[in-house]
Symmetry: C2
Subunit: 198 residues, 2 copies
Amino acid sequence: MNRPQLVEKMVEVIKKLPGVGPKMAERLSYHILKMSSNEIDKLIGSIQKARQIIKCCNICYNLSEHNPCFICSDVTREQDIICVVETPQDLIAVSKVKKYKGLYFVLGGALSPLDAIGPGDIRIDKLMKRLKNGNIGEVLIATDTDSKGEITAVYLAEIIKKLGIKVTRLGYGLPVGGDIEYADEITISRAIAGRTEM
Amino acid sequence: MNRPQLVEKMVEVIKKLPGVGPKMAERLSYHILKMSSNEIDKLIGSIQKARQIIKCCNICYNLSEHNPCFICSDVTREQDIICVVETPQDLIAVSKVKKYKGLYFVLGGALSPLDAIGPGDIRIDKLMKRLKNGNIGEVLIATDTDSKGEITAVYLAEIIKKLGIKVTRLGYGLPVGGDIEYADEITISRAIAGRTEM
């Protein structure tokens, strides 16, 4: 005997979510079947409400209940520096630090030649348009430090510098709390290059 | 800045699903916000439809589109043997083997003194009632081989034997494809006890 067809269908749909394998999809499906009506209403309701209300900010492309978002509407922030991140989650990670008081731009991904993701597939045109229109003196690139993020950073730096705008990148080095014994060679060599006087 | 409140709420609700941690809940939430309306309708629709149609069989407590389920309605199956499993997923795993042609009973969990789950919290009364009413000659216990499953098997064996019904348990031994080097001692000792002549 196989799973009932409707459970099968639910498993198939849930399996498409990121990070969810076949076993996990099965487990979630059977859990969902056992949930109370109240719990399931909460789950579906929270999804539908968020999708209804959450908008993509027309300036920075962050997700927010407002458009323009809180950050873009906040005139007390430094208006001449833009931090470029890959995703809204990255934006939140940077903004939690509070060291950065400027504006943001969410690319919506990273360049990836292997996956055929080129400049037209992420918001590079929109970023360039914003840079050309605005009074921006510096772009701080905060893409991931994996190969896709690196390629994106190098590509962006090249085209943004042509506009006469200063381009910076988050500093490399050892993560705080890290054990040097387990750090990889590239990280250590970058930490040496970026060493600071004490 | 934190996540928008509605995203926060969605993350909170999704985090309650089994096997989903805070990071995974965040990833799923942002993915759900990016999904097309068509995709989201499929996801929510498949959940709602399955919850609407899938029933718990009144005889074996398996989940099925029909009540009684296909297995309980199938008169060609052996009617005098019941395989007791913890969950509907376990039932499907056993039924796929096709070696077993009898009936089933889904307990809906296992005894767990540490979690205060006693006989009243799973369907032991309903199992006993079915055994008393029916013409059952053998109960094959197929609970998990972890400590909860073991406790449940021992408890069930004791009370079922009192009804004069034969109780059996799935054989222990090495899993097929397993490497003896990595098998634990208890499994090996049980495999020795259950050795078969070649």
